[in-house]
């Protein structure tokens, strides 16, 4: 279970998060949506302690993330796999080294077990036989897949996706959506994705949290958000930039 309580975060004079609270239960598939630059990725990074809130609490299981020492934080992070927006693959390492880095350095697996886990993870994301490729030779979609393989290789309980389908063509978007759905069902993980791609939201998520002006504007199912009468929510769903201007 992940719980966020009254989180505030500012960067200089820019108040990004202004009292965000929510709870995510085990096994849920949650999409955090909102306009670009509204602080969705910032919120996601709070969940594994990459960013500390100015005030408020982030709980993962029974641990208060923002007060943990580094070694305690490592334990929390070992349960969370994060997929970054542009893959964030280590560009001096091959695909195999990217996926196997944490397994070989931080787990108790031997070399054979590590190799097996790398192969399994790559099979899971449909990237068999790409172990020796370098990140520079991968397309955007392939980088995202390898990023997902790296995240699932550590067998996490929570999978955090930062804009998993942004910048991809429709076919690749569908392919990544199906992959996220497959992993969510097969691996028994809690999936939390930050996105502004509505297709991903409606195909993958069971619950949607919308952030607007640093606060939660909507929290419900994808069906409920479609029926929402809130003008801000409606504007986001319809993608009509004139909707609020007309009202104003």
């Amino acid at each position: 279970m992940i719980e966020v309580k009254e989180i505030y975060k500012s960067f200089g004079s820019n108040n990004v998060l202004k009292g965000i609270s929510f709870k995510i239960n085990h096994g849920e598939s949650v999409a955090i949506i909102g306009k670009s630059g509204i602080g969705k990725s910032v919120l996601l990074k709070h969940l594994i302690g990459l960013i500390k809130p100015d005030s408020g609490e982030v709980w993962v299981e029974e641990k208060l993330v923002n007060s943990l020492s580094f070694s305690q934080l490592q334990e929390v992070r070992a349960q969370c796999g994060m997929v970054f927006q542009f893959g964030a693959l280590f560009d001096s390492m091959s695909v195999k080294e990217n996926i196997g880095l944490a397994l070989s350095k931080l787990s108790k697996m031997n070399a054979e077990e590590v190799d097996l886990q790398i192969t399994k993870s790559l099979q899971e994301v449909g990237m068999e036989n790409s172990e020796n490729l370098m990140p520079s030779s991968l397309s955007g979609g392939m980088k995202k897949r390898v990023g997902i393989a790296r995240a699932i290789a550590i067998k996490p309980k929570y999978l955090l996706y930062d804009e998993p389908t942004t910048g991809l063509d429709p076919v690749m978007t569908d392919s990544i959506n199906r992959l996220i759905l497959k992993i969510h069902k097969h691996e028994d993980v809690t999936s939390i994705m930050v996105t502004h791609e509505l297709r991903t939201v409606f195909e993958v998520a069971e619950r949607v949290i919308m952030i607007h002006n640093g606060r939660i504007k909507f929290d419900g199912t994808p069906e409920q958000i479609k029926l929402s009468e809130d003008r801000v929510v409606q504007q986001f769903i319809s993608g009509d930039s004139t909707l609020l201007e007309v009202e104003a």
Binding site: Q74, G81, D91, S92, L101, K105, L106, R150
Partner: protein, 257 residues
């Protein structure tokens, strides 16, 4: 007008903020030394990058430094009051005490310092450092410690290489500019040579190596703002490292000589 008055204060505060951030980062690095065995492989890689791959440029620059020292000494000795074989002592002492560590430091600032900042800075802006943290790695142990450790080992070795090449360059130029024989050159060299001077050069190399790699790592680690930010950090690394080397050179001379 007020803005003009406030600007130097802002720069002054920013300098001390940066210094504090650097000290904190270095203290984290020294605390992470206990997990050195985890990153031994990376340290070996960095020893190759920082040390082995820099040998040609260090050889070349120190060779010419020795040659120019010899030629300039010959120019000074034209009066005839100083015997020609003294050129060996001038070249030897200049190279061992000052030129080898200083030239190595300055060349390595451009070669290694800039590279480290660009590498780590790019990792910062492309979220690779966040990815390391999300995989439970300590990025300070992973990225900074191996580089600083490698430099601490390799810089004194590079200074030794620079010593040899500088003296060889000096000998070559002395033979051509002043008709000084090899025996005469080394007679002059031995006359004023003190083993402590050679050790002092190595100590300087050690400090310069740690300073360059730690400053470069800090600047890379705190990079913000995409490609432009990486460029800014890299430039800043070169400027700060060069200044620090000159300052350290003076401080170490005051302490050890």
């Amino acid at each position: 007008m007020l803005r003009i008055l406030i600007y130097p204060i802002h720069i002054f505060i920013r300098f001390f903020e940066g210094l504090a951030e650097y000290v904190i980062l270095m203290s984290k690095m020294f605390r992470s030394v206990k997990s050195w065995n985890l990153y031994l492989g990376f340290t070996a890689d960095q020893m190759v990058n920082i040390g082995a791959q820099s040998i040609p440029i260090v050889m070349l620059t120190s060779l010419f430094s020795g040659m120019v020292t010899s030629v300039q000494a010959a120019y000074q000795f034209e009066s005839g009051f100083v015997p020609n074989w003294f050129v060996g002592s001038v070249v030897g002492e200049s190279i061992i005490l000052e030129l080898a560590p200083m030239i190595t430091g300055l060349v390595m600032t451009g070669k290694i310092g800039a590279t480290i900042t660009a590498e780590i800075g790019t990792m910062r802006v492309t979220e690779q450092i966040d990815a390391l943290e999300s995989l439970s790695f300590d990025p300070v142990s992973f990225l900074i410690m191996p580089r600083v450790l490698a430099a601490a080992v390799m810089f004194p070795i590079l200074v030794i290489v620079a010593d040899f090449c500088g003296i060889l360059g000096g000998l070559f130029a002395a033979q051509h500019a002043m008709d000084v024989s090899t025996q005469e050159f080394f007679r002059g060299f031995r006359t004023w040579f003190r083993p402590w001077d050679a050790w002092f050069g190595l100590i300087k190399g050690l400090f310069f190596g740690i300073a360059i790699t730690s400053i470069a790592s800090y600047k890379g680690f705190t990079t913000e703002g995409g490609a432009e930010g990486v460029g800014r950090s890299t430039t800043s690394t070169v400027v700060i490292s060069c200044t620090t080397i000159v300052l350290l050179d003076y401080i170490l001379a005051e302490i050890f000589l």
